[in-house]
Each structure stands twice: as C-alpha cells, then as structure tokens.
Symmetry: C2
Amino acid sequence: MSGGGPDATGRKAPAPYRRPVPHVSQCGIPEGCPQRAHYPAVMTSLSPYDNLTPVTRAAYRARAAATDIAPLPRAVKDDALLAIADALEVRTSEIVEANAEDIARAREAGTSEAIVDRLTLTPDRVRAVAADVRHVAALPDPVGEVVRGSTLPNGIDLRQVRVPLGVVGIIYEARPNVTVDAAALCLKSGNAVLLRGSSSAYASNTALVRVVRDAVGGSGLPADAVQLVPGESRDSVRELMRARGLVDVLIPRGGASLIRTVVEESTVPVIETGTGNCHVYVDAQADLDMAVAILVNSKAQRPSVCNAAETLLVHQDIAEAFLPRALAALAEAGVTVHADERTLALAEGSEAAVVAATDEDWETEYLSYDIAAAVVDSLDKAVEHIRLWSSGHTEAIVTTSQAAARRFTRLVDSTTVAVNASTRFTDGGQFGFGAEIGISTQKLHARGPMGLPELTSTKYIVTGDGHTR
Amino acid sequence: MSGGGPDATGRKAPAPYRRPVPHVSQCGIPEGCPQRAHYPAVMTSLSPYDNLTPVTRAAYRARAAATDIAPLPRAVKDDALLAIADALEVRTSEIVEANAEDIARAREAGTSEAIVDRLTLTPDRVRAVAADVRHVAALPDPVGEVVRGSTLPNGIDLRQVRVPLGVVGIIYEARPNVTVDAAALCLKSGNAVLLRGSSSAYASNTALVRVVRDAVGGSGLPADAVQLVPGESRDSVRELMRARGLVDVLIPRGGASLIRTVVEESTVPVIETGTGNCHVYVDAQADLDMAVAILVNSKAQRPSVCNAAETLLVHQDIAEAFLPRALAALAEAGVTVHADERTLALAEGSEAAVVAATDEDWETEYLSYDIAAAVVDSLDKAVEHIRLWSSGHTEAIVTTSQAAARRFTRLVDSTTVAVNASTRFTDGGQFGFGAEIGISTQKLHARGPMGLPELTSTKYIVTGDGHTR
C-alpha cells in the first residue's frame, strides 16, 4: 500500500494515499436521508440537518471519517501515526506555549500543584508522548484478525473478523497526554475519535489536536478522524452522551463522579472504567515477608491510581503474627490505617498511625496514603466483605495454600484476581498489551485493561458456492 | 462432582448437591448494606430494603442465586438441565392446560391465527422443547475457558478466563418456548435469568417456570436462578430496565418497537437484537442461476424471520439479463416486488406482482412476501445504498469476481456479510454454535448470532510468587 523511497530518517516516506473507499460525499453520511434507520434518536430530535449543533455536526463528520478509515490496511495507519509523532516533535514549542495558558489559568484559579503538574507539558513530556505514538504504531493491528473460523458441515466457510467500532468518544480529565494517546489508539484500531477533555486543558488540547489533525490530513487520511468536541461547557458532554447512532461507544476516564454521570445519563453505549476499591487478603497460611511486600507495594507504590489497594483483610489465625509487622511497614511507608476493632487491639503500642474505621472506610477509594484494615474469621468472610464493598477492580490473595488460592479466584468476581502478586499489576502495559485505553470495571464487551482489540467489534463473513437453506 | 448410580434411563442420578459457595444469607445480597457501591441507583431510590417492589425483590433474589451458581462445575449444571427436560415431559399435561387458558384468551381477543399458532404448546412441542434442553446440556460449558494466557516477562502467569455475566434479563414476545430455551442457556452459562414474556403467554410461562424451578430446586441448585418477572403490566418492564447494578444485561427479543423502547429507556446495559433489513446484491459478474436461487431462498424460505432479505440490489450491467428471470422466480414464490424506476421499466410485460417503491420501502423490514428492488450503477453504489438503509444485520453479494467479493466484504459494516450464500445462514444453529439466545445487531460485547460464550464475561487471574512492581 505504501510506496515511496526512504527519507532522511531511513523510514519510507508515505506514498500519496489513494482512498480505497467511496468518497464521503458519495458514501458517507446521508445528508438527504433523515429517515435513516440507524440514527433514530438523533434524526427525530435533530432534523433538518441544518439545525445540528456543533457537537452533533462533529459527530457526523467523525462518522464519515470512520467509514473512510475502517478498511485501511495497517501500513497506511502506521504512516499517519509516525507523521503524528514527527509533528509533535517539530511543533513542540507551539504545544508548550498553549499549555502555558492553561497552567496560568489553573494557577490563577488556585488549583493544587499536584493537578497543575498533571496538566503540565514540558518539551520532554511532549517527546515522551511522541514516543508513545511510535510505540502504538509498532503494535499489531487488531483489524482483520480472524477471531474464529471454520468450514461448516455444508461446506460454507465461516470467519469472524475484527472490525473497528466506528466512532469512539473519550471523556477525560486534566491530563493532556491522554488526548494524543487516545487519538493514536483509536486511529490504529481504525476508529474515529471524539475527544472531550477537561476545560482546564482546553488550550493544550486544542494545540495538540491541531498538530495531530494536520499530520493525519497530511498523510492523506481524513483529519476528521480526530476531533476535539467543540465547546467547554457541560452541554457538550450532554450532547455527546445523547448522540446515539452517531457515536458507537463512550469511554469516560477519570474520577468516580464523572464516570457515574456518564453511565447514568448516556443513551450511547458506555464502557465504564477505572474506579478501584481494591483489596489485599492475607490468608491463614501465608509467607509473612511476601504478604508485607505485596501489601506495601499494592498500597504505597503509587497511591493515586485505580489499581492501588484500599483495604487490607487479614485471616484471624495469622492476624497476631502479621498485623504488627504490617502496621510497622505501612507506617514506614507513610500510610495511615483505618482499622476495625480487632486490628485496633493488635495495633496497641505500635507506632503506626491508626484510626478507628467506620463503614464508610470499607467503600472508600482513598487514592492516598490511607488504607482500611479488618480481621476476618475465614477466607469466605473475606470474600463476603469483598462482594459487599469492592468496586470489582482488583483483589489480591497472599497464601501458600493451593486450596485457598483456587477458592478465592473462583469466588471473587472482579476484573482481576491476583494470587501472590501486587494489585498494581492490573494494567495494560504490565499485561503485555502494549497500550491501554482504560480499565473496564464492567462486564459487557471488555473487562479489565483494554488494549487495541477491545477497541474493535467483529463481523462474520460467510462464503459459499451458491449455498441456500 | 456428581455421584450416585445410573437410574432407569441409564443416566446417573444427581448426587445430593453440596453447595460449594458460602450460603446466600452469609455471602449473597447485602440486606444491611445500603451503601453498597455496586448498586448505587437502586439503593438510593429504594431504601430501606423493605420497600422493594416485587420486581426489584426478584432481581435481588436472582443476584443471590447468580452468586451461588457462578462457580458451579459443568456436571452440576448439566444435571439440573437434564432434570428440567425430564420434568417438562413428565408434567406436559399441566403445561398444555395452562397454555389452553392463554389460547382461549387470545382467541377471545381476536388474535390472528398466526400468533395463536406461535403461542400454542402441544405435547409434541413440549417434547421438542425438552429435547432442546438436553441439547444445551450436551454443549460445552463456556465458563472457565481460558480465552488468553501467557507468562509475562517478569514470570507472572496471566490467564483470562470466562465467567458468567451474572443476572440476565430477557424481554420477549409471545413464543413460550423461548421461556425454557432462555432459562436453559442462562443456566448452562452459569447465569441467573429474569424472564419477562408477553402478558398474552402469562399462564403458559407461569406453568413452564414452575416446572423448571421445581427441577432446578430438586437438583440442589437455587430455584431463584430462574424467575418469571412478576406482574403483567408495562411497569414491570420499566422496573427491570431500571434495575442497574442488580441486572447485568437485558436482551430484548421481538419486534423493532419493543427493542427500540428497551434500548432507549434502559439504564441497564442492553444487547440489541434482531431487526433485519437485509440486502441481496447481484454484481455485474454473477452466475444468474445462483443469483436467482440465493435471492428466492433469502426472501421466501421463511419471510417472517430477521435474516430474510428485504431488498434486492442489481448492478446495471446485469439488470437486463437478470431482472426478468428474478421477477419471474419471485412471482412464482408469491413475492410482491416494490421496484424503483429502472426495475419497473424492466418488469414491463412480466407477470410479476410489481409496484412502485417509495423511500419508505428501502427502510422497511417487511417480514412478509414483499421485497424492495433497485438497479444500482456500481458495487460502490450498492454499498452506499446499504449504508444508508440497512439495519446492519446481513447483506449478501452474488458475484464471480474475487475483487468484488473482497471489496463488498470489506466495505459493508453489518453483523454478517455473505458471499454467494443466502442471508438465511445468519443463525446460531447454522453457524454451529449449537444454540442461540438472539442475534445482536449492535457492536459492543457481541455481534451477530449469540451462543453460550456470548452469555459470559471474563476475568483475569494473575499468579505470582510474591511479585511487586
């Protein structure tokens, strides 16, 4: 597909791209077809076409672009991704300048330094984003993968192949690097993307998307495959959530309240991500050194992320031996323990920071140097606690017992169950997926870390020689 | 798991079943836990627990049963399924009597004989339903299947395994056989099911579910794994659609208006099924005999089903040779053709029943002996027509050209694309899945015919030796 000689970097320059599908104006969005069965909600509420709002118009353009890029072979998409990476590096100063506006506004508004740091793009960070894009280009293309295939008894060849989802909407918070990451993952998987970042990063995101679109368009692909959702108000999020038939899936990334709003109000299918009230359970039979190491790593290696542990459960038979050591190690890591009565009793005399837990602690995702702790009568009681309070993200058991490990992994219904390993491993990068668009905490479509295949659907291809029933 | 000697039928009698999970009252639904993060919508609108409506109470009981049956091994579930099949045969007269009430009511209400026929359960039909249940028992259990597995570079073993979805809600129309089919498929895949059939089949469904529940309970499994949603009014459907956190997925089966209502109003995730505005495209290069056979089979073999063809598209280069033969064959099959101008011109002088098409015809799922027909300038124009009007179920191309087949399959974005085969093959049974809970016409989770694996989610199991990050 891609011709042309090598350029100065040794990489082949993209050949002039010949669009392999009918042109958008012929085969894309049905401007003159308000009855289109696919788009009932939009069409009944928003006809004639002229009255479309900026958000819905962007969604229509994304739909047309999705139609164009869906059948593209890998080489064409990879060329566009490499062009994006190059452009990010060439135009770093433009991006950093725009970012400075957001930072100034954030500082004026008294935003915490932690959030300002997340918002900040330095030349080094832009280079790292460009490197991530090149990494996505190097990953295998999920589109076209034959998921299942067989010859049926009547001689028909049946194949189930991966196809792009179509239009993916991402709603996310302050980190502007997500803008480029999400665009790269969606492009690679043949999808168009509608990006709705935080209004606090609007200048940064506008600059990043301008650079990305220029690179995409320059590769001969439709620039509308990557769009920032217009408008900074909440209304634009609401419109995106109602664009049923235009947007194939919404992926909210961010805090629990953002995710809950999208899940409850959207009429577009949603993939819920991220809330992580994760547990570490230390079984009656456990290697205490291992248990301490896994506990501290799960809690304190990076407390602000969704796969950090938020509750420690300890079997009563091992509590006396384990908890004093665990509390000392947590104290050394700077962790405050919100303890039930039995844990409090064992903490007496220790130097650990321990406070009495309330029921609220069992359901809290601290995302900080805090952990809830309880002593349980049995493995089944630990499972019961987890079923009651967990958000279904990741739960770990530390045990030397094969029976306990089997029972825990069978009974716990979370995206990931870890045996003798830290909860922090629930991550697309750690799982070897090469990239991650989020961690689904729901059961439909995708569950757990989502890589490129999770940004696809499938279709069946039935091939016969005139077969009839 | 299942002991005991063979009974009179040669099949092993089910051993007394020892529940392998904590008892419901210990480990099931958190009666005293109104904060439970998993159930926010229900819990905020419906506390205290005493005030639950009958539908929500049923959903809670289903949730507890789902927890119990999720970890069951195949043998236990198969024993319950075989007990259901036996019970259906033993208690046929009870079922047929209840069915007679529904039929009498339907006749009084002046229901059409076609619908009365769908509603009718004869002893033979009950036996056929029992045979279907035995067939489901013989299918492989999807639960526990390792979908993906590897050892990560750090030595961690990663496995992605299939687990049940949890509580599945099925909303369906008059056919009472769906009641048992859906229950069997859900049980086999480790799910609890909430059945909401048509009120016109309420007596039949009540009798069937009574028999099924008795058999399930008699096998030592929780009878609440199969429940009829209480109440015949629309309110019970509405409550089911709002039981977010209690019901994991709703699958509406039936007419387009039922499906649209559920898709638009549900806050529970929905798998959209069934609407089929299917197309047959006859390419410029095509075997005319094959094209006629595929067209007639796609349209007329069983016009009332979702994979029947509703529109014929013919390339202009072959229209003159093909259409007169096609129209004659369709006339012979009793099909009325709703034709565009170019088709009308070629139909002059033929004996076929041909009427002029309006735009409405392109979007109509007739489900009758009617078909729309148009002549198109090119394959790309056929694709354009399909993109505009298709419901995305199944489209067929008849062609001798490899290039045309490749282009059509790549550009058409439907659950199934058939090359030189009838649209009627889009079916779980035909695809060799052994059973089908419906045909998904959406892109998330499952697309196309849904078998047992499509009634599952997955979880990741991470096993280490004390691994930390």
